[in-house]
């Protein structure tokens, strides 16, 4: 069951990497980065579950929590910059 999630995170990372490079607009590139992030976090949480203990290993959970907050803050700045560029274009 864990192997499936590892594989799923792998696909997410690879697909979003492809679309990151091929993205036509900044919004698409931003979405692909976020999805890549979710893929990596899935890998982390799958590792958390991959233990002999009954409840999962809390350290990756804390790390993913930090990762999500960092990803959100980076997205917030990216949004501001893209808004500036869009406004500038018109």
């Amino acid at each position: 069951m864990i192997g499936f999630y590892y594989f799923l995170s792998l696909i997410l990372v690879v697909v979003s990497l492809y679309y990151f490079i091929v993205a036509r607009s900044y919004v698409k590139r931003l979405i692909s980065v976020n999805i890549l992030g979710s893929g990596v976090f899935l890998f982390f949480v799958a590792t958390a579950k991959n233990t002999t203990m009954e409840n999962p290993d809390p350290v990756p959970h804390a790390l993913v929590l930090t990762g999500i907050v960092v990803a959100v803050s980076a997205t917030a700045i990216a949004v501001a910059l893209i808004l500036y560029l869009n406004k500038e274009e018109r």
Partner: protein
Amino acid sequence: MPIDLGYLVALPLLASLLSLIPSLRVYTAFIFSLLSFLLSLYSFIYTLMGDIPLYQWIGGWVAPLGIGFRLDGLSGFFLLMTGIIGFFVALYSFSFFKVEYQRQGKVFWFFFFFLWAGLNAFFLSEDLFNLYVVLEVLSLSALVLVALPGHRKAIKASLNYLFLSILASMFYLLGVAMLYANYGVLSMSLLSEKLAGTHAFTYALFPIIVALAIKSALLPFHFWLPPAHSSTVAPASALLSSLVVKPPAYLMLRLWLEVLPKDKSLEYLSIVLSLMGALAILVGSYYAIRQKTIKMLLAYSTVAQMGYLFLMAPLYYHGESFREALLQAFALQVFSHALAKASMFLSSGNAIYVARRDDLSYMPGFAHSHPLTFFALFFSGATLIGLPLSAGFVAKFLFLGLSIRLGFIFQGSIMLFGSLLASLYVYPIWRESFSSHPTKFYDNPIPQLMELSAFFLGFLSFSSGIVTFLLLQGIVRG
């Protein structure tokens, strides 16, 4: 008596928050930049005398559970570098933001101290995930500094920089996740024992090395650096070019020398990195020579100079017996380039302040009108080329000697050729600042503090060659 290394990180953070209050801004900026400089100086002196490597576990939780600060010769040395450059750029910015970019001046200090805290945190931390968060702090604050001027070119450059640095951070995180999945440990000191004899880490190494290459603008990923470093205000580009690009290379060296055991795939990787480094030097210098504006020239020269650190990758791999000399050469190359580049960017800031134009042909004849800025440009240019008495020369000398002793003729010849190329792109700056062509004569004075800080940085980078044995004592001890 070792101080609590936490101060080195927490104080600049507090300073950045305090600098938001308009009335307190100038005082906090001065007091805290001085304080942080003294702190890094003290930690450097501690590496000379105290027992190092000094481990301090945050929250009292030991290795696998908690995060630790580690202070050894190399990190102490880089803390000193950050302190010196941070302090002089702070001095420069005091008068720079009085005369120019007043609006940006208000917010500059917040990101300046954040960057400083991030750099201190990076050189001290020894936990892989913690380094991810610090890398993110560095990229975001550098990013906003790039976007500071607010015109379209700066915003576009910072956006490209943002995307590439998020991608690199995600790759780095993937590498850390893979290492954690296989070895269940995040701290570097524990990792080195666990890695001995296994092969799984080579998989995890690939995303980490790619991420670090992107962050330090190694060749195929260097497109974001020139527009980013050249489109922003002078003190910001000085900080970016001299400090923000260095930590990834430092981390790569630390991983290489201390954490990763010898492995076939590592050898191939070192060869690939060395090739990319060589290309970076050649292409970077080629573009630097062709540039018309001084800031683009300096940005491309950063790409070239960073190439040296990666060029020597095979030496890190094979040079087990010369570990100490390699560390010293690496540290000196980074130190001299950082100081020289910071002084050159600050002087280019002076040039733009006087001539109101960025391109090289309009660079004012500094030799005639502003001797101090001319000395800064002259001495830091000499350090970039690697002329003696400068730490750059000692670094090149060490690298050259080691590459010949270990039989890497290719690396040695590229290193020598690279310093010749460097003189090719530093020469136009000297020539322009010397020419007494009438259009080049501007007598409006540059604020005293701006000239002095640029001069001192350049002079320090040049004369640091004399005291190299003192600077390197920390690295020798541990």
